[in-house]
């Protein structure tokens, strides 16, 4: 188990519990009373810490190394799943996954950013940072879903599109832009869910849908707090301040009407009980897809355009003096 810095009280209790178990094993004397006492304390502490997470702590939870990633959820919620590969132009991007799956008897196209579960796999998945071919692969699969009239669910979890030399040569900007444009016009329902990190255009590249949801311990912003700190504060050290300033949590974005809903996580975060999280996610996906089915394709596209057209805050000057002033 990996504990985040703010979880150190829990870490201490877990250690205590493990010690008791060792004593029990060696001495043969039952310690069950004491162990269950500690269990209760762990639960209480978890509840206390997780009900008052700061923005920075929530970001830490979203990046927890044991947090479930796209393929875990997809395989859990689907009765059967066939993964599909490649963008048909350049190569298969391991940081972007997708395929058809069966959810409660209905076929759904799942697309997601994919991070690796261990050191080796993290590299293999390029830390969840897609190249242009990843966005083009995603678009190919979305068009395939549209052709067979199947709804699309995208799972967003990326620290950003990959800022590499070849990514630029192959048109990272164009690939993302194309997805934004094409996703607006998809005739089938599109449900987008931030399951971890939602950084910038890299996240938005699979993020245009009829509904946008976020799991409780995630973030979504124009830039990561670290990069924001380095640009605006000219140092990496102000990431917590930057995190607060960016207001990137589900609560913030729900308040600003940028997202449509927040999906509750188990107490202690998705990583503390991945199965429970996946069950909740399955129910949520089912509920929203049922709802979205009711629209005609024309209504759906119109609503999608209206949804994004409405986002923005500004002031409109009324008088001539105001305008010239």
């Amino acid at each position: 188990m990996t504990f985040l810095d703010f979880e150190s009280p829990i870490a201490a209790l877990v250690e205590e519990r493990e010690k008791l178990k060792q004593i029990e094993l060696r001495s043969g004397v039952s310690m069950s009373d004491k162990t269950s006492e500690i269990e209760t304390k762990i639960k209480e502490k978890q509840k206390e810490l997780y009900s008052n997470l700061t923005t920075w702590q929530r970001i830490q939870v979203s990046r927890h190394p044991e947090r479930p990633y796209s393929l875990f959820y997809i395989e859990f919620v689907c009765d059967s799943f066939i993964e599909l590969f490649g963008d048909r132009h350049f190569k298969d991007d391991k940081a972007m996954v997708g395929g058809f799956g069966s959810l409660n008897g209905e076929t759904v196209m799942f697309i997601g950013n994919q991070k690796g579960v261990n050191t080796k796999m993290r590299q293999y998945r390029n830390f969840g940072m897609a190249n242009p071919e990843g966005y083009r692969k995603a678009l190919r699969l979305m068009k395939l879903a549209e052709k067979f009239n199947k709804p699309i669910v995208t799972l967003i979890d990326t620290p950003g599109a990959f800022p590499g030399e070849e990514a630029e040569q192959r048109g990272q900007g164009e690939a993302i832009a194309r997805n934004l444009f094409e996703m607006v016009n998809l005739k089938v329902p599109v449900l987008c869910i931030v399951i971890g990190e939602g950084a910038s255009g890299g996240a938005l590249g699979i993020g245009i849908g009829d509904k946008l949801l976020m799991l409780e311990n995630t973030w979504y912003s124009v830039i990561s707090p670290e990069s924001c700190s380095s640009i605006l504060w000219r140092s990496w050290e102000h990431k917590e301040k930057a995190a607060n300033a960016l207001k990137p949590t589900p609560n913030d974005l729900f308040k600003y009407k940028i997202i449509d809903g927040i999906v509750k996580e188990p107490c202690g975060g998705a990583h503390s009980n991945p199965q429970e999280m996946a069950k909740t996610l399955k129910k949520t996906i089912h509920k929203y897809l049922e709802e979205l089915k009711a629209q005609t394709p024309e209504e759906r596209i119109e609503n999608r355009i209206n949804k994004f057209s409405k986002i923005g805050v500004y002031e409109t000057l009324q008088t001539k003096e105001e305008i010239q002033g």
Partner: protein
């Protein structure tokens, strides 16, 4: 304020005024460092007569260059930014807005002009780098949305001139969602079968590249402009080596297949008129 306007006694020009630089004033090219007469530079559409370097110019300069007889009408100039998130870094966003407004005489980093080019209606949305680095916040996105509605209503082609460091961090998710908004609105322009020319100028990066700037029916650029998604510094930090000479220039983008052509600013107006004319028949 731009160099030739500073030379002109630092007075902000309105559309009715003509930009006449006083005779005998020299400007040093930011590229070749050689001096040229301002009048001569102006005759060269603010490019260097010696090395053809394209100096940064403002939104209204493009309007003057492209519209017939430099006659145009400004649209949607009454939209101004607000600080909904109460964002503060080393400076509060409110103060940044105030300073940008005072220093540039602009209300935002985007201006919309409407007029005729070659006798035909044309809507131009041009970014202005002087206002917080041409960054895209809610107003920039909204002005593009209005410009698209206007173009559809008036059956006019749309030219968007990009010059931007990307999305504006101080408006966080609102800025990010302008990428979605502008792309969504462009689908309506496409459905109306109206031409959209995207002109990328120095620099065009980040969320602007990854949305409307790359979505033109025609993506064109001025020579030597920096065009990319990630900034060169970020890429160099990621790959831990120096980028080759000419990386992410207009010429690089043309070579890699992301631009239709590169256009010298002196030919910009003619080329746009010719291109739009070809689509009419």
């Amino acid at each position: 304020m731009s160099w030739w306007k500073r030379i002109r006694k630092g007075v902000e020009t309105s559309t009715s005024e003509k930009k006449e630089a006083p005779d005998g004033v020299w400007h040093q090219c930011t590229n070749c460092k050689k001096a040229s007469l301002v009048t001569e530079m102006k005759a060269h559409a603010y490019t260097c007569p010696l090395c053809n370097h394209h100096e940064k110019i403002d939104a209204d300069d493009y309007f003057d260059l492209i519209f017939d007889k430099s006659i145009w009408e400004e649209k949607f100039s009454n939209l101004v930014p607000v600080d909904t998130l109460e964002f503060a870094d080393l400076k509060p966003y409110k103060q940044r807005i105030h300073e940008a407004t005072v220093n540039s005489g602009l209300k935002e980093a985007m201006r919309v002009g409407y007029g005729k080019a070659g006798g035909e209606n044309l809507t131009i949305a041009a970014m202005d780098f002087r206002f917080i680095g041409g960054s895209m916040g809610s107003v920039v996105g909204e002005k593009i949305a209005f410009a698209i509605d206007w173009a559809i209503e008036n059956k006019s082609p749309l030219l968007i001139i990009s010059k931007s460091g990307g999305a504006r961090m101080q408006e966080s998710a609102f800025s990010l969602m302008q990428m979605a908004k502008t792309s969504a609105k462009l689908t309506q322009l496409a459905n109306a079968k109206l031409p959209y020319i995207s002109l990328l100028t120095n620099p065009t990066t980040g969320g602007v590249t990854a949305s409307f700037a790359m979505l033109g029916d025609f993506n064109i650029a001025e020579p030597g402009a920096l065009i990319g998604f990630a900034g060169p510094r970020v890429i160099e930090e990621t790959i831990k080596k120096k980028l080759p000479e000419g990386f992410q220039t207009s010429e690089f983008q043309l070579e890699n297949g992301f631009l239709d052509f590169i256009v010298d600013r002196k030919q910009l107006r003619d080329k746009i008129i010719t291109l739009l004319d070809l689509l009419k028949n």
